[in-house]
C-alpha cells in the first residue's frame, strides 16, 4: 500500500474500533503497530515472545524482541520461559568461527541500485554494497524492507530502475537471468517450492534447471540422458539428499531434502556469487546445519556469499560483515565478528539513537 492508502486503512480501523469492533493486525511494520495498536503481541518461531502495550514500549525495543534478545533479565519474569528456545541459538563463539580469510578480490560491487515498486515508489533506493571472494555478507532486516527485491535484482528477476552492478569486473545490471546463471551467480530463492523447484518433476529434472543447456548435460540440443542420470546420482549422494528414487516428485520430499537438493544444484554450478534468501526457513535443526555447512564451504572455496535472512541469529552466526536494510536502503553496517545485537535491532526498526526518544 502507498502511505496514503495505509492512512485511509488506519482511519477505517479506528472508526471500526469506535463502533465496538475488535481487530487483529499481523504486520512486520513496527511503526504501523505503534501507530494503531492498543495491545501488542510479538511472535517469533511460532511462539509468543512478549505481550505489551504501545505506551510501555518503543519501536526499537519491539525490533529487539522480534529478532531475539540475549539479555533476558530485562524482560518481565513471565516471558523468560518463552525465550528459552532462543537461548540455544546464540551466535557462534569466536573460537568456533571459521578463521577469517584474507579479504579476496571483489566479486560483486553494487552502486546505487534502485528498483521501482508497483505504486510508483521504490522498493530499493540507492543500495550500494560489495561482496568479496571468500566472505559471507549478511543482510539483516525486518521482512519486507527490500531484501527480496535485492536478491531478485541481483539475479536478474527484477528490473533495475537505476544503479549499476559490477560482477567480476563486468557490468551486469541489464543482463538476463540466463546470462547471470552462466556467469556463475547462484540463487537460493526465498520459497523453494514456489520458484526454486518444480514440485511435480523428479530429482534429475530439478537438478538440470540451471545447467541443462551446457555441453556436459546436452549436446546438439539433445539431452544426454544417461550422463545426466549418473551426474544426478552423484550429486544426490554427495549432498546427502534422501529420496526414494530419482523419479519421484520432489514435492513429496521433506523440506530439508528439498533444500539440500536445491543447494546441490546451485553449488554444482561452482558459483562465484551465491545469493541465499532465508536458506534455512522451515528446516529442522539437522537440515539447517547442513545448509549452513554448505554456505561455509562455498566461503572457504572463495565464492562470495550474500546471505539474506530475517533470522538475525543466522545472519550473526555466519556473516563476516552485516548490512542492515530498512525501507529499501542499507542503514548500517556491522562487523560480523563482534556484532552489537541491540544496535542492529534499532537499525532494523529504522531508528538511530537520536530518533529513538522522539518516536516513544
Amino acid at each position: 500500500m502507498t502511505p496514503g492508502e495505509a492512512e485511509v486503512l488506519f482511519e477505517t480501523l479506528r472508526d471500526l474500533k469506535k463502533s465496538g469492533k475488535t481487530m487483529v493486525i499481523t504486520t512486520h511494520k513496527l511503526k504501523e503497530v505503534m501507530a494503531v495498536a492498543d495491545a501488542i503481541t510479538i511472535m517469533r518461531r511460532g511462539k509468543t515472545v512478549v505481550e505489551c502495550s504501545p505506551e510501555s514500549t518503543s519501536a526499537a525495543r519491539l525490533a529487539e524482541l522480534m529478532v531475539g534478545r540475549e539479555r533476558k533479565e530485562s524482560l518481565p519474569l513471565q516471558h523468560r520461559q518463552a525465550l528459552q528456545p532462543l537461548q540455544q541459538l546464540q551466535p557462534l563463539q569466536p573460537h568456533q568461527r571459521p578463521q577469517p580469510r584474507k579479504p579476496g578480490d571483489i566479486v560483486l560491487s553494487v552502486d546505487g541500485m534502485t528498483v521501482a515498486n508497483e505504486h510508483g515508489g521504490r522498493s530499493l533506493d540507492g543500495v550500494s554494497l560489495q561482496v568479496r571472494e571468500g566472505e559471507i555478507v549478511g543482510i539483516a532486516g525486518v521482512a519486507g524492507n527490500g531484501q527480496l527485491e535485492l536478491a531478485e535484482a541481483l539475479t536478474g528477476l527484477k528490473e533495475w530502475a537505476g544503479g549499476q552492478m559490477l560482477y567480476l569486473g563486468k557490468r551486469m545490471e541489464r543482463s538476463s537471468v540466463r546470462e547471470r546463471i552462466r556467469e556463475g551467480i547462484a540463487h537460493v530463492p526465498e520459497n523453494r517450492m514456489k520458484s526454486g523447484l518444480a514440485g511435480s518433476l523428479g530429482i534429475v529434472d530439478n537438478l538440470l534447471l540451471k545447467s541443462y543447456d551446457r555441453t556436459e548435460r546436452s549436446r546438439f540440443g539433445l539431452l544426454r540422458k544417461k550422463n545426466n542420470l549418473n551426474w544426478a546420482q552423484e550429486l544426490v549422494a554427495r549432498f546427502d539428499v534422501r529420496a526414494p528414487d530419482l523419479e519421484s516428485p520432489v514435492g513429496q520430499l521433506s523440506g530439508g531434502n528439498q533444500q539440500k537438493l536445491l543447494l546441490a544444484r546451485e553449488i554444482s554450478q561452482r558459483p562465484k556469487l551465491m545469493v541465499a534468501v532465508h536458506p534455512t526457513q522451515g528446516l529442522d535443526v539437522g537440515a539447517a546445519e547442513a545448509v549452513h555447512a554448505m554456505l561455509k564451504k562455498l566461503r572457504s572455496d572463495s565464492a562470495g556469499v550474500l546471505l539474506i535472512s530475517e533470522d538475525l541469529d543466522e545472519v550473526m552466526s555466519l556473516s563476516d560483515r552485516i548490512f542492515v536494510m530498512y525501507n529499501g536502503m542499507i542503514v548500517g553496517e556491522a562487523d560480523g565478528a563482534k556484532p552489537d545485537r541491540e544496535q542492529i535491532g534499532r537499525m532494523m526498526a529504522g531508528l538511530n539513537q537520536s530518533e529513538e526518544e522522539a518516536v516513544v
Partner: protein
C-alpha cells in the same frame, strides 16, 4: 458488501467440507498427484458411454445394440476402417497441435480456425500458381498450409505474449474470422463458375491431390500425421526444448527463475499448434474434399481437443485416441440406419470430454482412511 464476502468465505469452507461427509475415508486434494493411472481415461470413456446409454434407453432402444452398431460401422469393414482413418488424420494433427499448447497451459481452442487458414492457403497455391511443375504442388501446398496455420496461431500468440491478452478468447474468435473468410472465398471470387452455384472452388487437378491408398479414400496425409506424432514425442522427450516445456508445464515461476523465456515458448507452441492444424487443413483440401468448399471441416479443430485430453496430452496415446474419436464420428453416421440421429456421436463426444475433465480433477484426490 461485507455480508457477501462473509458468505463467500463460508461457501469456500462448505465446498471443502463437501467431500468430507461421514464416510470411513476422507478425500484429500493433492495438486502434485498425477491424474491417475494410464487406464483412467478408458474408465471415463466407459462412464460416458453409460451416461449416454441412459438417454438411448429412454428413447426406447437398447444402448448395447446401438454401440455395437456404431463399432460395426466404424471398424467392422474395410470401408469403415478407411473412413475412420480418414477422420482420424485431421484429429491427430490438430490434437498434437493443441496438446503442445495445453502442456504449458496455453488454452488454444483455435485449431478449427488454424485448420481453415491452412486449407485456404493450400487452395490459394492451386489458384494463383497454376503453372507449377506437377511434383511441386504437394510440398508447396503443405508448406503454405503450415505457414498459414502458424500465422493464424501467431495472431493469438503475439497479443498473449506481449499484452497478456487471453488466448481462449482470441483463438476462439479467430475461428469465426477464418470460417467467414472461407465463406467469402467459396461464395465469392473462388467459386467454381461451372459448379451450379455450389459454394466451392473448382476440383483440384490430380497432381494437386494427395495420393490415396488403393481403392479407398484414405490418403497419404496419414503419413503426415504419424510422422508428426513421432516427431512430437521425440522432441518432447529428448531435447532441450522438451525439457523447457516440461519445467514450464510443471512450474512457470521455476521457469522464470531458471532464466527460460516463457514468451518464447508461447510463440513456439502456437506456431507448432497452428502449423499442424494448417497441415490438417491442407490435407483435407488435397486429400479428401479435393477442393475448398463450404463446411470443409465438421469441427475437427474442436473435436481434436477431446483427442488431446483423452490421450492425456501424450503424443503416442494420441494415435489410438484419434482412431477412437474418428470411429465415433463414422459410427455416428451408421446409427442413422436404425433411426437415431448422427448427432449421437456429438453427444458421446461431449459426454466423454465432461467425464475426462471431471475425472482429471477427481484423480487428484486421495482416499485416506479415517
Amino acid at each position: 458488501m461485507k455480508r457477501e464476502s462473509a458468505a463467500e468465505v463460508i461457501g469456500k469452507a462448505d465446498r471443502r467440507k463437501l467431500v468430507r461427509l461421514q464416510l470411513p475415508f476422507e478425500l484429500h486434494y493433492d495438486h502434485l498427484k498425477k491424474g491417475g493411472a494410464w487406464w483412467m481415461p478408458l474408465a471415463w470413456v466407459l462412464a460416458a458411454l453409460a451416461i449416454c446409454g441412459i438417454f438411448i434407453w429412454l428413447n426406447g432402444m437398447n444402448p448395447l445394440t446401438v454401440y455395437a452398431k456404431m463399432a460395426q460401422g466404424a471398424f467392422g469393414s474395410s470401408f469403415g476402417i478407411s473412413e475412420t482413418l480418414v477422420k482420424s488424420i485431421p484429429l491427430l494433427l490438430c490434437g498434437l497441435g493443441v496438446a503442445a499448447a495445453y502442456r504449458i497451459s496455453i488454452w488454444n481452442i483455435g485449431a478449427e480456425g488454424q485448420l481453415v487458414a491452412g486449407a485456404i492457403a493450400a487452395t490459394a497455391v492451386t489458384i494463383y500458381m497454376p503453372s507449377l511443375p506437377g511434383g511441386l504442388y504437394i510440398p508447396v501446398m503443405a508448406a503454405a498450409g503450415i505457414a498459414a496455420g502458424a500465422a493464424w496461431g501467431l495472431l493469438t500468440a503475439l497479443p498473449r505474449a506481449w499484452f497478456g491478452v487471453n488466448e481462449l478468447i482470441t483463438s476462439l474468435m479467430l475461428n469465426y474470422v477464418a470460417l467467414l473468410l472461407l465463406d467469402y472465398f467459396v461464395f465469392g471470387p473462388w467459386r467454381d463458375p461451372a459448379g451450379f452455384n455450389f459454394p466451392g472452388t473448382p476440383m483440384l487437378l490430380p497432381e494437386q491431390q494427395l495420393m490415396t491408398f488403393q481403392g479407398t479414400r484414405l490418403h497419404y496425409g496419414l503419413l503426415f500425421a504419424l510422422i508428426a506424432a513421432v516427431a512430437f514425442a521425440f522432441f518432447l522427450g529428448k531435447t532441450r526444448w522438451g525439457y523447457e516445456m516440461k519445467v514450464l508445464g510443471a512450474n512457470p515461476s521455476a521457469t522464470k527463475y531458471g532464466g527460460i523465456s516463457i514468451n518464447r515458448h508461447i510463440l513456439i507452441v502456437m506456431i507448432i499448434s497452428g502449423g499442424l492444424a494448417g497441415l490438417a487443413g491442407m490435407s483435407e483440401v488435397s486429400g479428401v474434399a479435393h477442393r475448398l468448399m463450404y463446411g470443409l471441416s465438421p469441427g475437427y479443430g474442436y473435436t481434436a481437443i477431446i483427442v488431446a485430453w483423452l490421450a492425456k496430452l501424450n503424443p503416442w496415446a494420441m494415435i489410438p485416441a484419434s482412431l477412437f474419436v474418428g470411429g465415433l464420428i463414422v459410427g455416428g453416421y451408421s446409427v442413422q440406419t436404425i433411426g437415431l440421429p448422427s448427432s449421437m456421436s456429438m453427444m458421446l463426444q461431449g459426454a466423454i470430454l465432461i467425464t475426462l475433465i471431471g475425472g482429471e480433477m477427481l484423480g487428484k484426490y486421495r482416499f485416506v482412511r479415517r
